[in-house]
Symmetry: C2
Subunit: 424 residues, 2 copies
């Protein structure tokens, strides 16, 4: 029965039984973690062959280049070809980096501040004001990069098709608005795929700032765990067709393909952007780890074979997302105070509970040994104006632990709402 | 016979025979490279076991941490212990990074500009002027990092014991002087080891700028190719004793221990500095490649075993430095117009030829197919005021090629000087 149909006495009764269950759970002294999009050890075991796939000096040679030595700042040509295959662009449109795409994003924003991007009139640090658009709920680490450099973060609402483009199109008339963060496939945390229309509207933006940048973090570009690979319209091609060839900078990595934090990362953009950024990056590094690049090329081969490997990951992840979905359907849906998404890829479930109760629910979780992403983290400055959004990351715990964690989570969600309704 | 003792006719005769030899060399269409401190393929072969030393998930576990997953921003504890052993400090005094120590240095300077160092009153970008001391000849990539951020580069002369400390002690009275670049062991390119007195004077500096930083790039800390390991006084300890605990930031990497550009890097400094920098670095990355860290720990083990591996490298490098030294003794010494060092470690020989002839000599080299580090590169802004210093990097070519390259190089050196003396 929905809470709104219950009498106070019925709610009181439910509250008492939940409190009892909650204190039983607490007594178990559990330590469960649904905070971060971290694969489980058993999932990593599926790609352990990575450790032994490159074993000789000969295998480090490609195109006459020895991956064991300095050189090739933009990456091994074979690695650039690999990413061009995955992201459907030209090898010259890629820069293959080290183990972290976040670091590449940081470096782009950092350099925008200190030196400016390709089309900047001046470095952003010389601007009076820099504003950055943050579709929310979104990824906290993105928001923090721009916050770190003093940008004013502007919340843009998310819709089931992606960021609200009416709002975006209006905001970019302001020349101090310098860019936007996007996770176009299985967005973090909403798990939606931007619609073709939204992608096209992005490519066709006419921002007042000449150096407006779309930070297109394609983190989950091949990360389906249910159904077949979904093709997203190519933002780089569409930008070029729309006369905005340098506006989008795309990022991706193999952190959730091989090993998190030990993969390879990539920037894809116009050739001019890659040339510009490569020149800037030449000040800080001679070349990234090309042996690891060759290891990845050897193991992942090409897009087709990579998609096969992603099916292994899917076999680990799908049951976990099912646990989340079934628990929410069973424990939360009947009470009608929350809604959530049912993603087919990515690493998150985004849930919106009754406004004003998210923080309290997660505090209850924490006291019972269940760690979640802090409430508010999915909004700029860590502040959810509604105190409603919660990000669930079910990938790390084994299924049995996840079931326990979801039981506690659902209990805490209901408790927090009942506390509010009953004014406890 | 020294040039200064020759008659014009004698010089003319020598010049003609050199021109003939030079044009014979040119006709061979050689392509030889003595430009960069790049190990030869045969040297890299000595450490190929690196590729196969870590093969299982179990080997990725250490101290209960799975190197295959996200986490441990400051590095695997085992990797921090490894570096603490090498650099003679505590594990908590280290931050283990990715494949490039240059990138760590860049990040420190970059963050000094945008956010400030531990003891900064304000970020350096908010200062009217920032000056940085560059002992010269020195490493071009160091100088370029500070130039990139708009610092005014001040040349400090090198002596056989290190930077001229009288000059340094005078310059740091200026509060806009924010730091100094140092390569304390087998300095690039002079190949000297800073004397104990110089290291101590560094630690005891009392700079006017509270956030003055000694960028202590210990790139060749274990890189002897002749004789036994030489212990350098510990700058971090001495700084602490002198009441300057946060003034020095030390850097090192395994780029010339295992594979260049695919090794692991480290920052060592006071615990407070490491805490401060780790917090800043947390914005840009979740964690560096810990699998590669474990691979290195497994292969290199500890300082003692690493020094054994360095003897293998020495066996490759020593004969090459001998070729350089013998060619210079035979071909250049008799003419008395140049001097050079005879290092026992590192990757370079630094030669000072007759002022005003270095650029011309290297242009002649280039035309005959021998690539050298550009003349001037060892000075701020790439400008050697004397046009005299030349950096020779003999590590890359095989010995036979190196002999040819040195023959051409010596020929070009003499030609350039004779052109000047004869006014050709």
């Amino acid at each position: 029965m929905k809470f709104e149909m219950m009498t106070a006495a019925q709610m009181q009764e439910l509250y008492q039984s939940l409190i009892q269950h909650y204190s039983d759970c607490k007594a178990q002294n559990l330590k469960l973690n649904m905070a971060r999009g971290k694969p489980a050890a058993s999932q990593l075991d599926l790609v352990n062959d990575m450790l032994t796939c490159l074993t000789s000096a000969e295998e480090c040679m490609c195109d006459g280049i020895d991956a064991r030595n300095y050189g090739e700042l933009a990456g091994m040509p074979a690695a650039r070809r690999y990413w061009a295959d995955i992201l459907d662009c030209l090898p010259e449109q890629t820069f293959v980096g080290g183990s972290s795409s976040l670091n590449l994003m940081f470096d782009v924003i950092s350099r925008a501040y200190t030196h400016g991007l390709l089309n900047s009139v001046r470095p952003w640090c010389k601007e009076e004001t820099v504003k950055f658009l943050c579709p929310s709920p979104g990824y906290d680490r993105h928001f923090k990069v721009t916050e770190f450099f003093g940008a004013e973060l502007i919340t843009v609402p998310m819709t089931p098709e992606g960021p609200d483009m009416d709002v975006v199109e209006d905001l970019i008339k302001d020349p101090t608005v310098k860019g936007i963060w996007c996770v176009p496939k299985y967005s973090n945390p909403d798990g939606i795929i931007y619609s073709d229309v939204v992608v096209r509207r992005f490519a066709e933006l006419k921002p007042a700032a000449p150096d407006f940048v779309i930070m297109w973090d394609n983190a989950y570009c091949i990360h389906e765990f249910e159904g077949e690979y979904v093709k997203l319209p190519n933002i780089l091609d569409l930008c070029e067709q729309a006369g905005n060839p340098h506006m989008a900078i795309e990022f991706a990595s193999t952190s959730k393909v091989t090993f998190p934090g030990a993969g390879i990362s990539v920037i894809a953009s116009s050739k001019e952007n890659i040339t510009y950024l490569t020149k800037l990056f030449g000040i800080q590094i001679i070349s990234h780890d090309k042996i690891n690049q060759m290891r990845h090329v050897k193991y992942l081969k090409n897009k087709e074979h990579t998609l096969e490997i992603m099916k292994r990951h899917a076999s680990e992840l799908a049951p976990k997302f099912r646990v989340v979905s079934e628990a929410l359907e069973r424990e939360i849906a009947p009470y009608g105070f929350a809604n959530w998404n049912r993603p087919k890829g990515g690493y998150f479930v985004s849930l919106n509970t009754m406004p004003g109760t998210a923080k309290r629910a997660l505090a209850l979780c924490s006291d019972a040994g269940v760690t979640m992403t802090p409430a508010g983290a999915t909004f700029p400055y860590g502040k959810d104006p509604q105190d409603s959004n919660i990000r669930i990351a079910p990938s790390f715990p084994p299924v049995e632990e996840l079931e326990k964690a979801m039981d506690i989570f659902c209990t805490c969600l209901k408790l927090a709402v009942l506390e509010k309704l009953l004014n406890v």
